[in-house]
Symmetry: C2
């Protein structure tokens, strides 16, 4: 049988929109998503789940109500469930997200940035 | 409050053993682990869970009973639950694993390569 690797660079080359996560793999009931981000996202939280950010290219700030963390390429962070956060990137940044299937990018927030969910690339 | 990124290169610098995964983060009941591999691992499967391999440096072959996949840096693969597999790397390769807390590296196999579980770095 032929098995194919999932190439992250190849997947990133297939879309250009910002703040619109694309699913590239599933593990049990979790999804691995790629997203290109630039600018300021909306404040939101995910009441029922932690959320993993892994920066693959560029630099990402994740702001919290009481601080912030800056992630360079090769760095990751786990945003705990229920914690309000706002991703911000001054230049385009490529990120892998890991979270349960069904998580909406803007969480509890009503926003124009709410993306379609479960879009594969 | 001060938030710290998890730097993958820094974590890799803290251990040298092969086939001994180190936990670097938890998301809900899942763990992110780093492992350095070289040589042939043991055939095994994980009956209850899929397992994600993300190659960060080097090249990794994952052999199956009916084929194989080769992962370069920047490539990933999801080994489905219950599927026998054997990771092989001719030279040292750095890998991130994602799987539920409690998964043993050799799965169902009785092996000298069975590593202590839930070791953080």
């Amino acid at each position: 049988m032929t098995y194919q690797p999932i190439n992250l660079g190849n997947k990133f080359s297939k879309f250009s929109e910002h703040w619109a996560p694309r699913v590239i793999a599933e593990m049990n009931d979790y999804q691995f998503k790629l997203v290109k981000v630039q600018g300021e996202f909306v404040w939101h939280d995910h009441a029922d789940t932690d959320e993993v950010f892994i920066v693959l290219e560029g630099s990402l700030d994740i702001e919290f109500r009481d601080g912030a963390v800056t992630l360079a390429a090769g760095e990751m962070f786990v945003v705990p469930r229920g914690v309000e956060h706002r991703p911000v990137a001054s230049e385009e940044c490529k990120v892998m997200l890991v979270e349960p299937r069904g998580v909406v990018n803007t969480g509890d927030a009503d926003s124009a940035l709410t993306a379609d969910n479960d879009v594969w690339v």
